[in-house]
C-alpha cells in the first residue's frame, strides 16, 4: 500500500500528520489508506494533525468531514488537532464549520479528548 501521507500508530490510536502543501489527490488517498488501517487494526481513535496546514479550503474541509464520518462508520472517533488561528478565521469567513468534526488545540489535548470520549463510551 503506497501512501503519500504516513499513518502512525500511537498507542491505541492512529496519528496522521497532513503536510503543509498537500495536493488534492494525496488528501483523497488518505481516506482510502486511513479507513483500511482502521479496519485492519480495529483502532478506536484517530488524530489528524493539521498544525502545519496553511490552507483549509472547501475541498480540504470536505476531506476532513468525510474522513471523520467514514471513521465513525468503522466505530472510530476522530479528533482534528492544531488548526491555526488564521485557518480558523478563514474557515468561518468561508462559511464552513466542519460539521461532525471534533477539534482540539494540540496533539496532547486531542489525546486527552479521545481518551475521555472513548472512556465514556465504554462506561456507558
Amino acid at each position: 500500500m503506497q501512501s503519500n501521507i504516513p499513518i502512525l500508530k500511537l498507542g491505541d490510536y492512529l496519528l496522521v500528520t497532513i503536510q503543509m502543501d498537500v495536493h488534492d489527490r494525496a488528501a483523497l488517498q488518505l481516506q482510502d489508506d486511513l479507513t483500511a488501517e482502521i479496519s485492519k487494526r480495529g483502532s478506536k481513535g484517530v488524530l489528524i494533525d493539521i498544525s502545519t496546514l496553511e490552507v483549509v479550503d472547501t475541498f480540504m474541509g470536505r476531506v476532513l468531514s468525510d474522513t471523520a464520518a467514514m471513521a465513525k462508520v468503522l466505530d472510530a472517533e476522530t479528533v482534528v488537532v492544531g488548526m491555526r488561528p488564521a485557518v480558523a478565521i478563514t474557515l468561518v469567513e468561508l462559511g464552513l464549520s466542519l460539521p461532525g468534526v471534533v477539534t482540539a488545540l494540540n496533539l496532547e489535548r486531542g489525546m486527552e479528548l479521545l481518551t475521555q470520549r472513548l472512556g465514556r463510551k465504554v462506561n456507558g
Partner: protein, 136 residues
C-alpha cells in the same frame, strides 16, 4: 519589471499539483508585501478554490499575479484565466451551496468573501476570467 514599476508572474494550471504551486506563489507575494498572516491565508485559500475550479471545470488555464496600488496601499492582483466551457449561470453558481462537481459548493462564493475586490467574466463557450484584488 514593467515601465511603471509593476511586476508580473504567471503559472500554468493543469493539475492538482499546480493548485498547490499556485497557493505557494500567492503566499510568497503576500509575505513579500508585508501582509498579515490572516490576509495571506485568505488569499491562499481563495486562490486554492479558484484555481481548482479552473483545473476541474475550465480544462486548465493560467494564473497571473501582478502588483497593484489602491489609493497608495500596496497589493497584488490575481487573475485566473481558462478557455473552458464558461459558467452558464453565474448568479446560480455564486449562490451558497451550489456545486457542479465535488466540493461543498462554496468555492466561487467563498473566494469572493476572502478578497478586497472580486470579478468574474464568463460567457458560455468562451472561457472564464476570475480577478481577485488584495491590498493592505
Amino acid at each position: 519589471m514593467g515601465n511603471d514599476g509593476s511586476f508580473r508572474e504567471s503559472i500554468s494550471l493543469h493539475s492538482d499539483r499546480d493548485v498547490s504551486r499556485a497557493r505557494v506563489l500567492v503566499a510568497q507575494w503576500a509575505s513579500q508585501q508585508g501582509f498579515s498572516v490572516v490576509e495571506r491565508t485568505r488569499a491562499m485559500t481563495a486562490v486554492s478554490e479558484i484555481s481548482r475550479n479552473c483545473v476541474i471545470h475550465g480544462g486548465g488555464g493560467t494564473m497571473y499575479v501582478s502588483t497593484l496600488y489602491n489609493n497608495g496601499s500596496p497589493g497584488f492582483r490575481i487573475q485566473i484565466v481558462d478557455q473552458g466551457p464558461g459558467i452558464e449561470n453565474l448568479e446560480l453558481s455564486m449562490g451558497r451551496g451550489y456545486s457542479t462537481r465535488g466540493g461543498l459548493g462554496l468555492g466561487l462564493d467563498g473566494a469572493r468573501k476572502l478578497c478586497r475586490a472580486f470579478r468574474v467574466e464568463s460567457n458560455a463557450g468562451a472561457g472564464t476570467t476570475v480577478t481577485l484584488d488584495y491590498w493592505r
